[in-house]
Assembly symmetry: C2
Homo-oligomer: 110 residues x 2
Amino acid sequence: MEEAKGVVKHVLIAKFKEEIPPDQVEKLIKGYANLVTLIEPMKDFHWGTDVSSENLHQGFTHVFESTFESTEGVAEYLGHPAHVEFANLFIPSLEKVIVIDYKPTIVLHH
Amino acid sequence: MEEAKGVVKHVLIAKFKEEIPPDQVEKLIKGYANLVTLIEPMKDFHWGTDVSSENLHQGFTHVFESTFESTEGVAEYLGHPAHVEFANLFIPSLEKVIVIDYKPTIVLHH
């Protein structure tokens, strides 16, 4: 089997359930961000809320994007006890979620 | 009104229609990437196909992420003739699409 090489972006888009209060949403986001300090292969974490104007967000409100050195790094993250504990709180708080990983091909402005 | 400041990430996740042949998909992706050279406020473009293992991708297969200096930059992009022409080819080729823009809060590994 060919070994997976290269940076992997792990993109999660979500909509929290209506009944989750804002302070609980904030706590969950802090918990997600805190995984960066706990899980070695997780290199960075970006998050934000929808500011789009095209009305193609399909009701999703939050984006979370983390970077890993490899697909093996993502696998290590997914199996890490800190991630498992967090996911058990986070996933049930979501009305809907999409998770997609990709190895970015990058084109810069020139 | 407060002026929007700071980098904006424009994330599009998509599934192409079954009937779109691979060479046409490739052509559309090249067309998307080419917008970086045509539209000033579009600072970079990342794309890739799903390599996730969690089976939460909900059938989506492609991620396209571009970076802008501001929400005004995104608006300029959306209205740019090169984007309009491209979108008129691209959007009808998609079975489903989500577009979400966010201003990333960034946490680095430490």
